[in-house]
């Protein structure tokens, strides 16, 4: 069910293409290539943020269900980011390698977008149960890269807008709130632990 919902953004534009054909799409949208480039970028960022919202949600609600959706949301973030990159590479720049290299080397917002995408790649690969088991504790550390990717993606967005930073700012604020919740939860955990360790019966229970 959620799977289908996650496909809606791409299905919407695919439907346009099927119903109206390439010609029709160019009549309806002034610049359809830019439109999908923007929409896929935006949805990649939204899914990435949703993915990162699952742990705070668990902390707030105390129930485990958000964690069950985390992997799927993360993979959709990766899916839309790949789509975004492919649209950029093949439809926008028409695979002109000189243009692509110039973009990557000279335009920080592209460099940083590519970095975000490359960071997401190992996360997508190691998202299976098998890899989780194999990596053990290291899996968690590795997947902290998702935060880095999200921050880079917001910076990518911030640097590419001409003047109106309101949209990237909104995403930056959401990210900040999500980080905030984790931080507070973590501090409480530490405080609880400290209390337990320093109280006399706690000390009894934890000799050494």
């Amino acid at each position: 069910m959620l799977f289908v919902v996650c496909l809606l953004p791409v299905a919407w534009y695919a439907g346009d293409l099927l119903m109206h054909g390439v010609q029709g799409v160019f009549e309806r949208y002034a610049d359809p290539i830019k439109t999908i480039e923007h929409q896929s970028g935006i949805w990649a960022l939204r899914f990435l943020i949703l993915t990162l919202a699952m742990t705070p949600l668990r902390l707030l609600t105390g129930s485990l269900w958000p964690i069950r959706y985390r992997r799927m949301l993360g993979l959709f973030a990766f899916f839309y980011a790949c789509l975004h990159f492919l649209v950029y590479l093949f439809l926008d720049l028409e695979f002109d390698l000189a243009d692509v290299t110039e973009d990557i080397l000279e335009r920080p917002y592209i460099t940083i977008g590519l970095t975000a995408l490359l960071l997401m790649l190992p996360l997508a690969v190691t998202s299976t149960r098998g890899w989780m088991r194999r990596l053990g504790r290291r899996w968690k550390r590795l997947h902290r890269l998702a935060y880095v990717a999200a921050v880079l993606a917001v910076m990518h967005f911030w640097w590419l807008v001409k003047l109106d930073i309101s949209e990237p700012l909104a995403y930056a604020l959401i990210l900040a709130v999500l980080f905030g919740i984790r931080l507070v939860a973590r501090q409480r955990q530490v405080a609880r632990y400290m209390r337990r360790v320093s109280s006399p019966d706690g000390a009894k229970r934890n000799p050494g």
């Binding site: 309806r28 949703l50 243009d99 110039e102 995403y171 959401i174």
Partner: protein, 316 residues
């Protein structure tokens, strides 16, 4: 989760402009017939509404031999930050709030006959011409647009600029009621643009009052806008209320907002990149493949002489 409407509303959700214009014309003909019956010969203010056909428009030799960009994209996809920052915003909001009549224009500064006059008085002495120009946005998309207008030089000469008039400064209306985007502080309002006097007097530079043979739609800068076809689109200032002859180079809006990205000259130049995108190629709206951007947007034969000896990398 933040769910936003996509920036580009499918054009199909907007009233089909053909249908819209047919309705308009039908209404106007009705008004015209009724008006003529009652007050034969009286000037009808309705006849300057957006979408009305302009009479006696001369074809000019300045016509690009490339397919025209469809009307719905010319009028449905553009930048006009006074109405919002998305490309669909001008078409959505400008017709609701902008009032292009009555409209007064001030011409002042270094000239012998400054004045403030109604736009119709400003325009009336001149023949309207159709100019089919390429239009190249700094964001690397482009169009081909059949403007209707008057050479700017012909208008400016009426006010007898003095030898101190080295530049011409243009100003858009400042009125947040009519232009709600001016409540933000994205740009310094009112929008200001400028040209060197020789650029302003160049025969390719026009003041447009229409497109596609009709009165200029609100979202395209009604009732009066500049069109300088060899420069990036942001130079072609819209909804002008003031034209001033000045001695010093005016500070222009985009240049003030981001001086390293937008220069005063802003000539279309495939060899000088914008910091965030190359300018070598452009996507013509409606076309699948990009095309090469031409020096001075294809008008090099006519305008390259204006910049002889100038370092165009420095004066971007």
């Amino acid at each position: 989760m933040l769910i936003k409407r996509p920036d580009d509303i499918p054009a199909s959700e907007i009233t089909d402009p053909e249908l819209y214009r047919q309705r308009r014309r039908f209404l106007q003909q009705g008004v015209a017939v009724a008006g003529a019956a009652l007050t034969a010969g009286l000037w009808l203010p309705d006849s300057v509404e957006a979408g009305t056909r302009l009479a006696n428009v001369k074809k000019s030799v300045w016509r690009v031999d490339e397919p025209l960009t469809p009307y719905r994209h010319v009028t449905g996809y553009n930048n006009f930050y006074e109405f919002g920052t998305s490309k669909a915003a001008p078409a959505r909001y400008a017709p609701k709030t902008l009032k292009p009549r009555p409209w007064r224009v001030t011409i002042d500064g270094e000239c012998e006959k400054p004045g403030r006059m109604d736009i119709d008085d400003l325009i009336r002495p001149h023949a309207l011409e159709e100019r089919i120009y390429r239009f190249r946005c700094v964001e690397a998309w482009s169009m081909v647009i059949p403007w209707v207008g008057i050479p700017l030089g012909a208008i400016l000469r009426r006010f007898r600029p003095t030898s101190k008039a080295k530049y011409v400064r243009f100003e858009t209306l400042l009125d947040p009621e009519q232009m709600p985007g001016q409540r933000t502080r994205l740009l310094r309002w009112p929008y200001v643009e400028g040209l060197r006097i020789d650029e302003a007097m160049h025969p390719l530079t026009i003041l447009a009052v229409g497109l596609y043979g009709e009165v200029l739609p609100h979202q395209n800068g009604a009732p009066l806008r500049l069109v300088v076809p060899w420069k990036y689109g942001f130079k072609s200032i819209k909804s002008i209320v003031r034209i001033s002859f000045v001695e010093r180079m005016p500070r222009t809006s985009w240049n003030l907002a981001a001086p390293h990205e937008y220069g005063f000259y802003a000539n279309v130049n495939p060899h000088v990149a914008h910091p965030r995108w190359s300018q070598r190629k452009e996507r013509r709206i409606g076309e699948f493949r990009r095309r090469k951007t031409l020096m001075f947007n294809g008008y090099a034969d006519q305008v390259a002489g204006l910049y002889k000896g100038m370092d165009l990398r420095r004066y971007y």
